[in-house]
Symmetry: C2
Subunit: 355 residues, 2 copies
């Protein structure tokens, strides 16, 4: 049965790393005899916005909804389009309208990558951040009063629903249940954010009762970020609201030295809508156009996509190829962020050859 | 002229580190001939709450408002009083009702303290977090609808005002102006938190126009936390909203290995109300009662208090004594968190002797 994948490269280095992601997927498809087709679109990019005055065509929903997955590059070009316009008009819209309510992001210390933390080695850090991806602090409700005057007041509402919180907690507990350590950490701030977060804590406690085997703890987000640096080995599955998850899933990869390498999956677990797979990194205007961006985040996201599409062995083969190339540590192959002098394409080819 | 200081030890290790803070202040007062008086209160603690059903007596405002400064330990005992009750009933109330709108927190790599970051040495990391301290995400506006049902919705409003934001920005720009590097970094999230944060960015830009000598940059909070780990040397003065500042001022000290050592000042710059000085660490129920808590955060907060009260040389002498004792590195003096086997009192005495 053919699986159809929509390809949206986006902006900046998104356009450079996407071909390498596709190269790895093609290699995996050959080796595991997968029937995948790819269709590329130019929308969901700032170039498209400059031409059409909107990030997406009017019929984007019907165009994309039939795909089995969306494979996304990076989005944003703040020099010409403000970030909140480009992001709310594309990525955040997909997450919300395709109800991709889980954002899953692995944080893993890989061989050959230097962690900024002293004395940590591969195997020491290996956890997932499960981020709520459709509601919470990322709301579009609020506004400004007395605009432009000394009395100006700006209000934005954080909106959490029981449905929205419980389903992502359930996903996180289910994931913790499958892991050897069976440990779940909740990110909270119930001492300061005194309406939504104490309630979040009660939902975590309620869900925890249904998973007696899972060990649950919680930290306030301030000390939790500190513990990512001080004790990254404490964590197994970390579940967090939209904003806290956003922060933790950049900080976690930073602690493993993989900020340019980390993947993410925006998942609609029921499969009612296509899920979306994208690197954690952005469009990186500072290095765009030079062919030196690290394609591993894009390639690893492709591995998560194959796993989601029911091909775990193919996903594992891609990840193994990434690890092998990193462990080999050839400076002519690795990109500058990994202290090499290779190119996006060179690193992409090296990984594809190993698959 | 006598300066009157109200002493509120609070809970847990607050009660253990406070005597050492007072010991250091007494030593500095002797050496610099300062006229300080201290008056201790038992309220603003969970013990007080258990006895009186409230964190503060009804007349707390008139009792405290005449003091020149408040010297605070640590607050919270979640086993008996939920954190949001104890904190909103004391510390957060002081911040708001005494209009302590600046929370100032130094992040500095000190001699003799091991940073969890690889290859960093004293001098490499030296910046301030300036946190908005009265409004923003820490709001008490919001509520729950359809409570206890499947349709439950919980809303909390972030409220920012032009007055509130501009005054803390002004403080941060003024501070940056006095520093050799004259650099200010704004913590934002205008790509995701699309109502308040784009507006925050415009206020930063507007204030920046009044400080042409100050170099301004900004990062979204997710990548900013990553950069605290990857490039802590980039920062000089970091200005942030209440929540973002809370996160950054725990993460920054974590990166310098000083989470148990970091001080903070809750400042009402106009002096209309007393300012409040407290360590960043909490009441630490896990080690409370054992006499092994590190008193340096409390002592360093006392140094910030003396500076605020117009005695910068006395504040500097305390900080120099802390640095000297840390640099000496005597394991019998240092507390367990610093890999020693000393006691709270022993470390406090060693510092007081050096003043
Ligand atoms: C205890 C808590 C409410 C407080 C805060 O979030 O402000 C603390 O973390 C701090 O940073 O002073
Ligand atoms: C670009 C931005 C809106 C986005 C987010 O905050 O969700 C990004 O940081 C991410 O983590 O995917």
């Amino acid at each position: 049965m053919t699986q159809r994948i929509a390809v949206l490269a986006g902006d900046g280095i998104g356009k450079e790393v996407m071909p390498e992601g596709l190269r790895a997927l093609a290699a995996a498809a050959r080796r595991f005899d997968l029937d995948l087709t790819f269709e590329a679109f130019d929308f969901a990019s700032c170039d498209y916005y400059l031409e059409h005055g909107q990030m997406l065509p009017d019929d984007w929903h019907s165009t994309l909804v039939g795909f089995d997955a969306l494979y996304y590059g990076a989005i944003g070009w703040p020099e010409t389009v403000p970030d909140h316009v480009s992001l709310w008009g594309s990525l955040l819209k997909f997450r919300r309208e395709f109800d991709q309510y889980v954002n899953l992001r692995p944080c893993r210390l890989l061989p050959g990558i230097q962690s900024p933390l002293a004395g940590r080695k591969p195997g020491d850090i290996d956890f997932y951040v499960v981020r709520e991806n459709t509601e919470g602090e990322y709301s579009s409700v609020g506004g400004t009063m007395f605009e432009g005057t000394e009395r100006e007041v700006v209000i934005q509402e954080t909106v959490m629903t029981r449905t929205g919180v419980d389903r992502v907690l359930k996903y996180a507990f289910d994931l913790a249940q499958t892991r050897p350590r069976k440990k779940l950490t909740s990110a909270t701030k119930s001492n300061g954010i005194a309406i939504t977060m104490p309630w979040w804590d009660t939902r975590v406690a309620a869900m925890g009762e249904r998973y007696p085997e899972v060990e649950v703890d919680q930290f306030h987000i301030d000390i939790l970020t500190a513990n990512f640096v001080l004790h990254p080995d404490w964590f197994d599955v970390v579940v967090a609201s939209n904003l806290f998850g956003d922060i933790l899933s950049d900080l976690g990869p930073a602690c493993t030295g993989t900020i340019g390498v980390a993947p993410s999956a925006n998942i609609n677990p029921e499969g009612t809508f296509p899920s979306l797979f994208e690197p954690v990194h952005g469009s990186a205007p500072d290095i765009a156009g030079r062919g030196i961006a690290n394609p591993i985040g894009q390639i690893w996201s492709g591995a998560m996509m194959l796993e989601h599409l029911g091909h775990p062995e193919a996903g594992a083969a891609i990840l193994a190829a990434i690890e092998a190339v990193l462990a080999a540590g050839d400076a002519g192959t690795l990109t500058p962020d990994l202290k090499g002098h290779g190119t996006t394409e060179g690193l992409g080819r090296a990984i594809a050859e190993r698959i």
